[in-house]
């Protein structure tokens, strides 16, 4: 079983991102099961929001949040210092929306995948009421960094979720991130 913790801000589409990631696995990967769990609370727009994604090759009977993740998916650089990286597997990847390796990961020896998702999304006009929507973009980065689902299947999931009309920009964002993401040992 692979467990992922995703950190985002309320209003930035994190919950939808986690959902689509699970959908990509469930609907398009042969033999893969998945689950996306949003953590509900009284979080409002802008506040930190967590979500969890699980993948396994057999049906998942766990219903709890992820306590110890394999990978961390962080949609907003400023949220990096809000999570305890010790709860993330040392072998896993920290996937982050950043132009460069974040300062406080430097020298950590951890596997980091980074991409300027904000830049990509803004270029593509993925902005809603002042919020840059990086959720689809960061899924591209996640796929690149982890290889749990393929980029093709991610794209299928995005299209299936958004519909033919609204999908293109989102697909584009994911694909660009997939290409631009750099995976390094920090």
């Amino acid at each position: 079983m692979i467990e992922v913790i995703q950190i985002s801000r309320g209003g930035s589409g994190g919950v939808t991102g986690a959902k689509i990631l699970a959908e990509a696995a469930i609907m398009f990967e042969e033999g893969l099961y998945a689950q996306a769990i949003p953590k509900y609370g009284s979080e409002r727009r802008g506040a930190m929001v967590q979500a969890y994604v699980r993948f396994d090759n057999k049906p998942i009977r766990i219903h709890s949040p992820v306590y110890e993740a394999n990978h961390a998916l962080i949609l907003d650089l400023s949220l990096l210092d809000r999570i305890d990286l010790n709860s993330v597997d040392k072998e896993g990847v920290i996937i982050i929306n950043s132009k460069k390796i974040p300062e406080n990961l430097k020298g950590s020896g951890r596997k980091v995948a980074y991409v300027d998702a904000t830049g990509i999304s803004q270029e593509l006009g993925l902005v809603l009421s002042g919020f840059t929507l990086v959720n689809m973009t960061m899924l591209g980065a996640f796929v690149k960094a982890t290889d749990i689902v393929s980029i093709d299947n991610l794209v299928k999931a995005i299209i299936s979720f958004w519909g033919e009309k609204r999908a293109p920009k989102n697909v584009e964002a994911a694909k660009r991130a997939y290409e631009e993401t750099k995976v390094v040992i920090a």
């Binding site: 209003g11 009284s42 409002r44 727009r45 802008g46 009421s129």
Partner: protein, 300 residues
């Protein structure tokens, strides 16, 4: 008794502490800050299920700096009545028992309780902050939703006219009824102060823009509230049982005359919920607005 911006300063204490749970740009907390702040030394709040049950606090503590009783969704006016009566037996008649609740309790599930308290002439002030929607549960239609507004349960736009609780309370012999707006805070504070100085049941309904549910820019909250007045869609008025007359409030005065009003689209275009309102819906919305003005005019 006119309230100026300066008077907004002279509050006994802050009612709303910084670092609360409301969304950025919340019109409801903006109104709360001033309305409750103005009477913060003498108030006991009763809060039914709503966004206010959330933004009041939790986690580390309370953002509300006044005593607050939380109640079930439909129970607040009766709980408030119980508090009022108990305080009476304790000789504490000077306290202001105030309900701070949403349009869901105020116009829908709690309206029987509310009418009951009004009928008994309980000495309480019920303030409805209306975000036109069940905000706390994610934005479903309420009885106070505008025609044409998209909500989670009216994805193609609401079709029914607003349930005008102020009118209902006028018909139900309240002591005092007023509408107010997060965009006109002096007017709001004036009305709150006036209301708590009266005995009997009082109702104030506040237009409180709600960025996430109106799908509006959080920076536009005040602008949208003011436009609601200027377009005439949210008439500001007071009604007093003693005179049985309506008085149009100053911010609304000019817009009583339909020819002075700002086109409604100036207001709708700022809100995702109303941006793509159809022609027919817009017509109905305007008709409903006229209905409201007509009702008001009957009392002028």
């Amino acid at each position: 008794m006119k309230v100026t911006q300066k008077d907004l300063l002279n509050i006994p204490k802050k009612a709303l502490l910084k670092g609360h749970f409301a969304c950025a740009g919340c019109g409801s907390t903006l109104a709360f800050r001033h309305a409750i702040g103005a009477i913060a030394d003498k108030v006991i709040l009763v809060v039914p299920a709503s966004c206010a049950s959330v933004y009041q606090g939790g986690g580390k503590g309370a953002a509300f700096n006044v005593p607050t009783i939380n109640t079930a969704f439909a129970a607040s006016d009766a709980v408030a009545s119980g508090v009022r009566r108990a305080m009476k037996t304790k000789g504490k008649d000077d306290l202001k028992i105030v309900i701070w609740g949403g349009d869901g309790s105020g116009a829908d599930i709690g309206i029987a309780t509310e009418i009951g308290a009004c009928d008994r002439q309980e000495e309480i002030l019920h303030i409805i902050y209306s975000n036109n929607v069940y905000g706390n549960t994610g934005g479903q239609r309420s009885g106070d939703t505008m025609i044409g507004a998209k909500t989670a349960t009216t994805p193609y736009g609401n079709t029914t006219p607003r349930k005008m609780v102020p009118f209902i309370m006028m018909a139900n012999n309240a002591r005092y009824v007023a509408t107010a707006s997060s965009g006109y805070l002096e007017d709001l504070v004036y009305k709150v102060k006036k209301a708590v100085s009266m005995t009997g049941f009082k109702l104030i309904q506040i237009d409180a823009p709600c960025p996430p549910n109106w799908r509006s820019d959080s920076a536009d909250t005040v602008k949208i509230a003011q436009l609601a007045v200027k377009t005439g869609v949210w008439p500001l008025f007071e009604w007093d049982r003693e005179t049985n007359l309506v008085e149009i409030s100053r911010p609304s005065k000019k817009y009583e005359d339909i020819t002075n009003r700002v086109p409604l689209t100036e207001w709708t275009k700022l809100q995702g919920r109303l941006k793509s309102i159809t022609e027919d819906q817009l017509k109905s919305l305007l008709a409903d607005t006229e209905r409201q003005w007509n009702f008001i005019r009957k009392f002028m």
